[in-house]
Structure formats: structure tokens, C-alpha cells
Amino acid sequence: MPVQEIKFYQTGSLVVGNRLLDPERRTVQADPGRPNTLTSGHRACQGCGEALGARYAVDAAHRATGGRIVVVNATGCLEVFSTPYPETSWRVAWLHSLFGNAPAVATGVAAALKVKGRTDVRVVGQGGDGGTVDIGFACLSGMFERNDDVLYICYDNQAYMNTGVQRSGATPPAARTATTQAVGPEPGNPFGQGKNAALIAMAHEIPYVATATVADLRDLEYKVHRAMEFRGARYLHVLVPCPLGWATASSDTIRVARLAKESGLFPVFEAEHGEITAVSKIRRKVPVEEYLRAQGRYAHLFGDPPRTDVIAALQALADRNIRRFGLLDEEG
């Protein structure tokens, strides 16, 4: 009797764990003995997507390397909430230097490890979107261009949350921030601005580039593991909703990330040496409006009268992503 591939919810790649899976096929996060590299007692807000994403990613890196990692952290929420004197929430070797230099500091660590012949120890650099795509971008590009053996992870919450939600180069169009307020004829962040860090990373033709969200843990863990199979510069861009800056319910963090992906606004894909090798298809397509409505930073689009023109423009961006990255199955 041919045993048919069982793809019910518990083995489907959607929940964190599965009591029926072989241990090696389970996620790191499902493991009672997971490293918790970012442990309890940190001062992140309730429902912080970055705290979640960071533990997911660094735990995965820890698992992939058998715990042989050094983490370099840019200034930002993650750094501030995890290491205020006299307590740190990190349980790995961790260094914070400055806002804009994490990739270069990581390069330095990697160089030191190489000289000392400790190639078993891998380096992870990490920071928020501001530290990555704005102030740290020159260092990031340099690290990419030299192909230094560093996995850099950007936790993208689409604004400068640590300083009180100011606009960054990763802030999406129409989003309200403290410096792109919801006032005037074109409220929120202007259209036609911002940069796509993952595509720019790909332009460096580094071995591995991927995007992910905190809504798909298995995908995120897989990508960290995959990244660790390469030597050289690797980049992982993770969408991490911020309840404070996005004005979402603290319990909505994962749902909103899911909607970002399912609406097509945040394409999830993988690329090797500058070529896209895989995209995560949209499973249940939703209109961007559903994503936008969940967030106070877009509330000005749903006033009286609603800004249907702006919503349509955002939908067009999502549709463009869907075409460009082939996010929908042909039949879908």
C-alpha cells in the first residue's frame, strides 16, 4: 500500500512544532532544549516582533553551528532592550559597538577568528532597518563587496522605533511616522522613496540573500540554516512588526507580518549569487486593505472620506511584487 504523503496541519510547515514529527524535522523553537540565545527578562515591548525574530534567528544560527557563534549588534531597540546595565538577555558571545558599524565590526571579528584559525566559529551581525539600510549601509556594502564571512540579519520594523518612530529608508509609502506625519494633502511617507535592501544585497552577488517574516518560523529557520551552509557574505532581511510604531495590537504581531506577505507587499524569497532561487508563494491572497486596516500607522487612509486612491496605489505596489516575484501559483 503506497503510504500517501501526510500533509495535515501538524506536519504542514505552518505550526511551530509537531508532536508527531521526528525530532530532527522539528523546528528549533519547538525544542524544549532550545538555546534561548535571547532569554527572558529583556525590556522589549509586549508583542515585540524584533525580540521574537532575533531569538528565532540567533537560536537557529546557534543550532546550525553547534553554538559556535559570535553576534555583533548595531545600536537600536534590540541592543537597548537586551543589554541595559546591569543585565543582559544574551546568552551568546555578543558585542555592541555603534549604530552604523555593525557590519564592519563583524568583519573585524571574522578577520580575527580567521587569523586565529577558529573557522568553526561563525559571525552574525544584526541590527534594525535604520542601522542597516541607512546609517550602516556603507559598512554593509563594504562587507558584502569584500565577501567577508558574516551573516548579517536586518530586523526590519520599517522605522526608527528606538528614538520614537521616525521615518527610515525602509519606511513604506503612506505610513505615518513621527517625521512623516498623517497631515496635509499627502499624509504619511511619500511614494517613490525608500530602498529594497535585499535587492541591493543581491546586486553585490554575494552567496546568499533571503527575506523572511516572523510569521513563518520554519521558513526563517530554514533560511538561517541555509545561510550557514555558505562561506562569505550573507544577508537575511526579516520583517518584524512593531506594535508601538505600527500602532497594532501586541497580539497582532504575527498576524500582521502574515498579512504583509499574503498581500504581496512583502515578498519572501531566496537568492544565491545574485539570482533568485525560490519564492514563498502567497497561500491565501488578501487585499492590501486588510493589512493596512490592522495598523494605526495607516489609519489616515480610512478616514472620512477614505483615501481609496492611496490604497489603490499600495495595492498596485503589491500587485507589482506579485508579478515581479511570481508570488501567486498559476492556478492561484
Partner: protein, 539 residues
């Protein structure tokens, strides 16, 4: 390593910072009442046994099942599975094939010869069960397990009641029925065949309690002007004779009068007995038929014709005269005065049945109402110690309901015998669809049971519906959403940004670490089953 003051810190030291103090709401695990369980007339813990079937532990699944219902193999064939009608998955794609899995478990148990041990201390009490149908056997089964000595008497030669004499073989093979009944008898239930209880009062001298489940075998008659040559049969009798391998002569053209399941059974049986033309005549519309729609569909598939809004005005000489009806505003059928004629060698009346309550005569306190015995919430009749259930009490007349009566009655009888009260636990809050986070359930189409092709169906009494094999049954079991109850998917454990969920290990579920839980509610929001709720902290 001598560490520079303040700038360099000991790893993990933030555990000293108990962020639980930030919390305004706390997550709490709970078990909700899944709709399948809630809607099972036999009171099965459907989700409970599916949980074990999912992991391939069929025996544990079966044991949880037979804790409530001794007839999984029978149920898996004849139950109209209201559980599936209520199944939340039905709103996602298709309901879980609970009935199919139940049948798989029932057949698996018979194949492997699993038995149910009697572990209770003998109570020394003796209980009489009148009627070896589903209600009676169910009661007997539960009473034996509770340590009582049980005698089942039935006027028929074989136990099973309607399961044997009412339900045709092609729906319920006799060997399956016999095996599940035998398993009950093997537990020490005494069965007296061919004995009709006429004087219950006398019987009660020898028993501490009695459970009456005589069923409803008396066909309801309707006056139909008929000529001498008209051949008119009771559906009940026709089915019974067929069951006893003495099928009646019915000719080639058969008209069945009635709209219930029995009518469908009669029409389908008629086809199998050689009727080329079987017509069901019913005075209301299809959607008002009491017959289960699957039965109607099967009948139609087998070539049975339906004449809605029709009554039989007269039957004679190989013909019946049909009057067309129309429904008035109250939905009651009214004659139209329009007539048509149908050829009919035989007219089969399937207008419902009534119980034969002769045995109750002279029993004080027992109230009869509209032909059925009135019982209290504890299933006891007006006469102390005499309980009743099944078709003879007011309720839906299905095997499943009867089995449920048997179980409920057994519990009350047990309490009564011990001089206590049986009060069922209050039901937990319902596990409604809106509480689920259905994102996490990957798409999985329902598994279909093989069905016998029509050609063979109308020529033999072979079972029409086949069972699932191991892999399809496993797949189907795993389609369960575990509504309202933790199935250890680890979501809460994984999605907590504060590592404030403690995993207790297989089967032991999880615990919230309130020292660190900030009350963000992610665990509750991302629990697929809706088994976590947020409650405000007292301030």
C-alpha cells in the same frame, strides 16, 4: 576573564528582571467543548479518540471510543454523524470524516480482537434489561462495566433489535453486528432469547432495577381503500423478513408510502428483491422528508423514483391512485383534487412505528404519553427502579440516540443502585469556529470511502459503503482541528517573545511562566485551536 565594569555583562543575567509585572492580562489555557463531542447523541469524546488515531495509536483511540460507545463498527456504518454536521472543519473545507475513522477503528478492533475488561468490583446488584437493541445492549454494556449483574431479555431469537431486523444488510453486515454484540455478551451479560416480558412487576421481584428498551416495532397503519387483489405490506415486516432470509414476494413494481428512513430502506430493499420500478410516494416536499438526505441520495442513485406532494387515495388491481397535494402556508399538505395512476404490484407502508408497551400494564406511576413512556432527566419512569430509553421514550429514533440513552440510563441506574445521584459535569465553553486560527491548518481534502457500483448494489445485499484503509484513515484523523483543545503544536511555546511559555513534555502540554509573561497575547492569538484565553489581571 576580568570583566570591565558595567560595559561587559554576565550572559543571561536579565533573568533577574521579572517582566511579568508589566502584565495587564494573563494568558490561561483551557479546554473547550468541541462541536463534534457536543453533538454526539452517544456522548462520544470524538476529538479525544481522534487525537490518538492521529498518532496511529488506534487501540488507545478505540478504547477511548468504547468508553462511551460499545458499537464503533456499527456506528461507523449506520450513524448519521451529527458530529460531522457540526464539525468546524466544514467551514474551512470539508468536515472531518469522523464516521469513517470510527468505522476503521471498529473494524480494526474486530480484526485484532480487542476486548473491554470489566474492572469494577461486583456490586451484587442485578439489573434486568428488556430489549436487546442498541439502547438495551448499550445499557447492559455500561452496567456490566460498573460491576452489576445484567440480564438482557428479548422476544427475538437474536440480539440486535432494529440493528438486526430494521437496518438492511447492505448498510450493516450481520457479521459486524454479531461480532460487536458478542464482545458485549463476552463481558458477562446474560442474554435470554425468545422471551417476551409480559409482567414486569413480577420480574422486578428478582431484580434491583430494570431498563426497558423494547423499541418501536409496531407499524403505524393508515386507512387506504383497497380492493381484494391489492397487496399491501408493512415496511417493518418486509425488512424483518428479508433480514431473516424469508423475503416476501413483492412483484416488479413497488410503491413505498412514506418519507422516513424506513421508507428508503424499504424502497432500496425492494430494488434488491427484484423490483424494476420502486417509487416512494410522500405527501410533502423533498426538503421536508424525515429521511436522512444521504439515504435519499442513495435510493435515487439506485433508481428509486420519488413522488413528492402525493398521497395514495386507493390501491387495487395492480394500480394505485395518487392524489397530488400542495402545501398550505403552515406547510401542511392539502389535497388538490388532481389524480394520477401508478402501476403497483405491491404497496409498502412505511408510515412510522410505535412501541408495544404491554409489559407496563399494571405498573403504578408509569405515564404513557402519545404512545411513548415518559421518563425523567435520569431516564427513570414513574415506577422507582424502572428506567426506559430508546425508541420507546420521546426522542429521535436513531441507533446513536439509543446508544446514548443506554449509557445515560446505565449511569443513573448505577447511581440509583448505590443510593446516590449522578450529575453529569457542567459542559465546558463551546469551541466555536471564530476562536480558531485556521491559518495553521494546512489544506487537506476529505478522504472518500469507496462505494459499491450501482449495478452490484441493486442485485445484491453486499455492503454499499466501504471503509478507509490505514493510510486514508490516518490522514482523515489528522484533519481534525482539535477545536478548543491543546494538541501540542508548540505555537505558544514558539511565538512568545519573552520565552515565558514552559513546555512540559509530550502529553503534558504547557505552562505560562508568569514571572516573565508580559501579557502580549500572542500565544492566544496564534493558538490554532483557540485553547488559550486572555483574562484581565486584578489590579
Amino acid at each position: 576573564m576580568d570583566r570591565p565594569f558595567a560595559i561587559t555583562l554576565e550572559v543571561g543575567s536579565s533573568l533577574a528582571n521579572k517582566t511579568g509585572a508589566w502584565r495587564t492580562e494573563r494568558p490561561v489555557y483551557l479546554d473547550r467543548f468541541p462541536p463534534c463531542n457536543q453533538n454526539c447523541p452517544a456522548g462520544e469524546n470524538v476529538q479525544g479518540w481522534l487525537y490518538h488515531a492521529e498518532s496511529g495509536d488506534y487501540e488507545t483511540a478505540w478504547r477511548i471510543l468504547v468508553d462511551d460507545n460499545p458499537f464503533p463498527a456499527v456506528m461507523g456504518r449506520v450513524c448519521y454523524h451529527p458530529c460531522q454536521t457540526a464539525c468546524n472543519r466544514g467551514r474551512l473545507d470539508e468536515a472531518v470524516g469522523i464516521n469513517a475513522v470510527e468505522r476503521f477503528l471498529g473494524d480494526e478492533a474486530l480484526r485484532r480482537g480487542w476486548t473491554v475488561p470489566v474492572e469494577a468490583e461486583p456490586s451484587g446488584k442485578r439489573v434486568l434489561v428488556v430489549g436487546a437493541g442498541p439502547a438495551g445492549l448499550s445499557a447492559a454494556y455500561h452496567l456490566v462495566r460498573l460491576g452489576h449483574e445484567v440480564t438482557v431479555v428479548d422476544s427475538a431469537e437474536e440480539p440486535g433489535g432494529m440493528m438486526r431486523y430494521g437496518i438492511p444488510r447492505y448498510r450493516l453486515p450481520r457479521d459486524v453486528l454479531a461480532a460487536e454484540i458478542q464482545r458485549i455478551l463476552d463481558m458477562g451479560v446474560r442474554f435470554e432469547a425468545g422471551r417476551t416480558v409480559t409482567d414486569l412487576r413480577a420480574e422486578m421481584e428478582r431484580y434491583d432495577a430494570a431498563f426497558l428498551a423494547v423499541g418501536a416495532h409496531v407499524a403505524r397503519r393508515a386507512y387506504i381503500p383497497a380492493g381484494d387483489s391489492a397487496r399491501i405490506l408493512d415496511a417493518i415486516k418486509m425488512l424483518r423478513d428479508t433480514a431473516e432470509a424469508e423475503p416476501p414476494q413483492i412483484g416488479r413494481r413497488v410503491v413505498v408510502y412514506g418519507g422516513g428512513n424506513t421508507a428508503m430502506d424499504a424502497a432500496r430493499t425492494a430494488r434488491r428483491l427484484g423490483a424494476t420500478d420502486a417509487v416512494v410516494v410522500y405527501r410533502r416536499t423533498k426538503d421536508r422528508m424525515p429521511a436522512h438526505e444521504s439515504e435519499v441520495a442513495d435510493a435515487e442513485a439506485e433508481g428509486v423514483r420519488m413522488k413528492w406532494l402525493s398521497t395514495i387515495a386507493r390501491a387495487d388491481g395492480g394500480k394505485v391512485l395518487i392524489e397530488r397535494m400542495r402545501l398550505d402556508e403552515t406547510g401542511f399538505p392539502q389535497p388538490t383534487g388532481e389524480y394520477e395512476e401508478l402501476d403497483a404490484d405491491t404497496v409498502v407502508l412505511a408510515l412510522g412505528q410505535e412501541p408495544d408497551l404491554a409489559l407496563l400494564e399494571g405498573l403504578p406511576g408509569v405515564e404513557i404519553d402519545k404512545g411513548v413512556v415518559r421518563v425523567g432527566p435520569n431516564m427513570m419512569t414513574g415506577y422507582p427502579g424502572v428506567f426506559a430509553g430508546g425508541d420507546m421514550v420521546p426522542s429521535d429514533r436513531t441507533v446513536t440516540v439509543a446508544i446514548g440513552h443506554g449509557k445515560l440510563a446505565a449511569r443513573h441506574i448505577d447511581a440509583w443502585l448505590r443510593g446516590t445521584q449522578y450529575t453529569p459535569p457542567p459542559p465546558p465553553p463551546p469551541a466555536t469556529y471564530d476562536r480558531l486560527n485556521t491559518w495553521y491548518y494546512s489544506d487537506a481534502p476529505a478522504q472518500l470511502r469507496p462505494r459499491l457500483e450501482v449495478a452490484r448494489r441493486i442485485t445484491t445485499f453486499d455492503e454499499v459503503e466501504g471503509g478507509l484503509d490505514e493510510s486514508t484513515a490516518l490522514f482523515e484523523a489528522r484533519r481534525c482541528l482539535s477545536c478548543g483543545n491543546c494538541f501540542e503544536c508548540d505555537n505558544c511555546y514558539g511565538v512568545c517573545p519573552d520565552n515565558a511559555v514552559i513546555k512540559l513534555g509530550p502529553g503534558r502540554r504547557f505552562m505560562i511562566d508568569y514571572d516573565y509573561c508580559k501579557g502580549c497575547g500572542l500565544c492566544a492569538a496564534e493558538c490554532p485551536a483557540g485553547a488559550i484565553t486572555m483574562v484581565p489581571e486584578e489590579t
